[in-house]
Symmetry: C2
Subunit: 418 residues, 2 copies
């Protein structure tokens, strides 16, 4: 084993040990640690911001884009928002110990299904330092030990945050290595993590295709949060004004996120008036339109879409638009091109709404609402740990519950199996 | 691509297509297919038994053990039991479409979480031909397309069963490739399956360590059903007669299965009278005892246990026995040695029962009952698709629900995100 492997193994063993303690910790102890963390963030504001300023300078000097530096940057307002977020997690009910279901068998056995922590959860992410605090809070509140591996650009900021997190745990009588920040940014860390299914129960990657590739063949289960190619289909029966508002919101309110609309489908019967009106709004937002043949005929400013356009997550002010002949064509197009995160229909036709909600195989299906609502907070979870594009364990927005598993407790009075 | 890869890809594409249809199939259509299958099994009894007799002869000729041939063998009674099993699955409620939860948001959005099929589920198994029928029925009833890859020894039997399954689907108006039997027993099949995460949503392996290794690094999620090292701890407050019955049941009622007891822990205060009485029963069943020092002192016929014994799944009439000083020692021993499937305590002490149920981190924790109840039928699921030793997606006995996922359907009236 390399020195790095040895050091990591030791850290993971301590995390495993801490996970046993955290699994049994009371809600009050966990919430106390969270409130200490909130206070610690505010009390150490100067130190954190100084470390972050250094990180940001280094990032600029090494030629990072201004968008990148903006994601990395903390200021007083962002730090206070972070502290409020921590407080909000403390206010959420403890997911651990919830009895999900319970029943009595004919032989008298009483079975309950109880929510318990997953164990050791590793989060691998890039430059945003707020992920350090969010992932620590949510993972710990769900009774897990959390192993954090952030990007090298935020390393000084993350060190400060990690040290405050550890003292908050200790201050609440919880093991300080319940949240372990891996102070190593080598790619080898990911290769070690993904092999240690004995010490890590889940890896949550928050990053791009490079991270996806680095995790291929992982022995530890991975809950991916990857592409979002979201569609909106405007049916012929749609309230066109409503459809316009929904489309503008889905495309323009925050184009860089995974729940923004990338492909718009429009029924041919209402394509001309709808697209003409919508395009005035899109143009004002600076949205580039790439269209099918019929779209380009209706909107002279549109450029012809290629096959590649329908499969692209632009994350930008670009929209691919297609005129379709029927609901059937829309359904089949979406099931072929959607990344399975979120798709919407705007319609006033009950049968169309029902078919869309049944036949579209995506984590979230919207009827007369914007795909932008695909979000843990908007769903009412009070927190978000990512949006799963996976079909197993958790699908769609993930809150605290999705960081847990369950066990069965069976109470008897001497029953034996015949 | 090799010829095999091409053929498999084509089969998996058809399964993916069939999955879309099956996901939307009504409960009645699926149940009609199941009842046709029940009838088909009974009507084609001669053909199936003839094919099976051939398989059994070949297996004997190639030197398979008699236990192996027994697992492979079908007779009239076993075939009729298989047909009754199919009928029972038809009688279960359809898991697809169940509304798991639903709520309204302050902005008026109505969110429901609806149970939907996983998609394409591949089951890889060995010689028991009843797995062919069980996996097909359960997977299909949960709305999935099922891809079956059985062992080479049962190939003729499986061909007959698969052809009856396909005609039953067709007879109910469902796609006949909704259940695809892969008539290829090469190991390469597993290597292809595990790479095609685009065409397969889940692999359920039912087999030993060789299969476990073959699936290492799978790009498709794997829901493992592997070792069962189950413990029973007899506390000092236990009703010793109850403890004796539970231990005899857990060890002797079917030693070859994963939920049988392998390690017995006994509190020192009651070790002597309890072990002396229990051993009379164990000896009568022919159980070999491997004990710690104190056990060997109490039971002269016991042989000293090695460290390896505490980590061994005997699946046989062998029991490792350890005398412990306290509940704490038992808890820590079990959490270190259990495979996390099922562990039991026999006690009349409420605090001990509560600590055991909270602190033992296994899929099923039993208080005053035999670990042998760790089973989908015994849990009341009406069916079983294996017992997961995994922490994600499903844990413990798996029924129909565990072969599904969910999606969110969000109904609005024009809401946009601020």
């Amino acid at each position: 084993m390399t020195e790095l492997e040895n050091a990591l193994e030791e850290a993971l063993r301590q995390a495993r040990e801490a996970a046993r303690t955290l699994a049994l910790a009371t809600g009050s102890a966990k919430d106390k640690a969270l409130l200490l963390l909130r206070d610690g963030l505010l009390q150490n504001k100067e130190r954190i911001l100084a470390a972050n300023a250094f990180d940001c300078e280094q990032a600029k000097a090494s030629g990072r884009t201004s968008a990148f530096v903006d994601r990395l940057k903390l200021d007083s307002a962002r730090l206070e928002a972070m502290a409020r977020g921590v407080e909000q997690v403390a206010m959420l009910p403890d997911p651990v110990g919830e009895v999900i279901a319970g029943w009595r068998r004919p032989n008298g056995l009483e079975i309950i299904q109880v929510r318990v922590p997953l164990g050791v959860v590793a989060v691998i992410y890039e430059s945003r330092p707020n992920v350090t605090v969010d992932a620590a809070c949510l993972g710990m509140k769900a009774g897990n030990a959390v192993v954090l591996r952030g990007g090298s650009d935020a390393i000084r900021t993350n060190r400060e945050l990690a040290s405050i997190i550890s003292s908050s745990l200790a201050g609440a009588g919880l093991p300080s290595c319940g949240v372990t920040f891996i102070d190593q940014t080598s790619r080898e860390v990911i290769q070690v993590l993904k092999r240690r299914s004995d010490l890590v129960d889940l890896i949550i990657p928050r990053g791009g295709s490079e991270l996806k590739q680095a995790l291929a063949g992982s022995a530890v289960p991975v809950l991916p949060h990857f592409d979002g190619i979201c569609h909106t289909y405007v049916d012929r029966s749609a309230d066109l004004k409503m459809a316009e508002e929904i489309c503008v919101n889905a495309k323009c309110s925050r184009p860089s996120v995974c729940n923004a609309m990338e492909n718009l489908l429009v029924h041919r019967d209402i394509a001309r008036p709808f697209l003409r009106a919508l395009d005035l709004r899109l143009e004002a937002f600076g949205v580039e339109v790439r269209g099918c043949e019929r779209t380009c005929e209706i909107l002279p400013r549109a450029v012809p879409a290629t096959d590649e356009d329908w499969r692209t997550e632009y994350l930008d002010l670009v929209l691919a638009v297609k005129v379709v002949d029927s609901l059937d064509e829309a359904l089949s197009f979406i099931n072929r091109h959607s990344s399975g995160l979120a798709d919407a229909i705007v319609t006033n036709d009950l049968a169309a709404a029902e078919r869309f909600s049944r036949e579209i195989d995506s984590a979230a299906v919207f009827i007369n609402a914007s795909t932008r609502f695909t979000d843990g907070f908007e769903f009412g979870f009070g927190a978000e740990t990512g949006i799963s594009t996976h079909r197993l364990h958790a699908r769609g927005p993930m809150g605290l519950r999705e960081l847990t598993t369950y066990k069965y407790v069976v109470r008897g009075s001497g029953q034996v199996r015949l």
